[in-house]
């Protein structure tokens, strides 16, 4: 039996077992890479990312159903846990809408766009806000690796401020880190939890 000691750890461990698969890292990582590439190459149409966001998260739900649940089973968590997840999701949606509003304003009023997106300190502000978002997700979801992503995001934003090679470096760097780490986690998850055969389950 597992070495868990109290009810709180049992609940946390049960919840975290759902995120051992690395799928959240892979999907958010791909989304961030796409965002970076689109902002870099097609800055005027980046608001289409809302569609990408919705498409990726519905694929995420499908992937969970196909990969995670057949291996570790299905559980419904308490309303307190579900509320925390809803808050995180709400924060992400609000920030996405806010970013899109800023992008639309910048397109409609180019001088304002220059002020918002092309000031010398924009990258540092983006770095600080982005790393806070990662830290909030890490804190709210108990998935501690998001703190590492927060550090990577902030670090690459500061590097971009001093060595302005590619403005979207923080997005691409953290996106790559998340995708690669997610793939490693997924590989380990698939090895650790093979699909249960129906015969074994019926034998219960």
């Amino acid at each position: 039996m597992r070495k868990t000691t109290d009810l709180k750890s049992i609940e946390r461990q049960a919840y975290l077992s759902y995120h051992q698969d690395g799928l959240i890292d892979i999907f958010v990582g791909i989304l961030l890479i796409l965002m970076g590439v689109m902002i870099w190459f097609l800055p005027t149409v980046w608001y289409f990312l809302v569609g990408g966001f919705i498409a990726l998260f519905s694929s995420y739900a499908a992937a969970k159903n196909r990969i995670t649940i057949p291996r570790i089973g299905y559980a419904e968590f308490t309303s307190a846990r579900r509320l925390r997840i809803k808050y995180i999701f709400l924060v992400m949606v609000v920030l996405l809408v806010f970013g899109n509003v800023l992008a639309i304003i910048a397109m409609l009023y180019p001088p304002l766009g220059v002020l918002i997106f092309e000031s010398a300190f924009t990258i540092l502000i983006v770095g600080a806000v982005g790393s806070i978002i990662f830290a909030v997700i890490g804190f709210g979801s108990n998935i501690r690796r998001f703190y590492v992503y927060a550090i990577i995001f902030l670090g690459s934003a500061v590097s971009t401020f001093y060595f302005p090679i590619i403005a979207v470096l923080p997005l691409v760097a953290v996106g790559l880190a998340m995708t690669l780490f997610g793939l490693v986690l997924l590989y380990r998850f698939l090895r650790k939890y093979p699909k249960e055969s129906l015969g074994e389950m019926e034998g219960a």
Binding site: M1, R2, L7, K8, I10, E11, Q13, A14, S17, N65, R71, I72, G73, Y74, A75, E76, F77, T78, S79, Y193, E196, E200, M201, G203, A204
Partner: protein
């Protein structure tokens, strides 16, 4: 003179619910207490028990009226879920209080 049973000397032990007190069932009850409901596979992975072991303990808990097995469709897929009944929740809380009380002041 016949030997007095331990339970008689320590009435608090006599009151302890033996259905819950068994380690494997305690682990199952703890999981179901902190989750709304879970299927057999999830409980198996979390507790590390075998299918047979888990199934027999769930049956004992079900017979005691502490858990109920329900069928539910989630995204058009059928799931056999296990959840604590109201009396199971109360019994688990009572068990917690008794154990806490027993070790009080040590």
């Amino acid at each position: 003179m016949p030997k007095e049973p331990v339970d008689a000397k320590f009435p608090i032990i006599d009151d302890i619910d033996r259905v819950i007190h068994e380690p494997a069932r305690l682990v199952i009850m703890s999981h179901l207490y902190v989750l709304d409901r879970a299927d057999f596979l999830f409980l198996k992975q979390q507790t590390g028990m075998t299918w047979g072991n888990l199934s027999s303990h769930i049956t004992k808990l079900e017979n005691a009226g502490y858990v109920e097995v329900i069928k539910k469709f989630v995204d058009r897929k059928p799931y056999t879920l296990i959840q604590l009944t109201q009396s199971g929740r109360q019994a688990f809380e009572q068990y917690q209080r008794q154990m806490r009380h027993m070790f009080e002041g040590i």
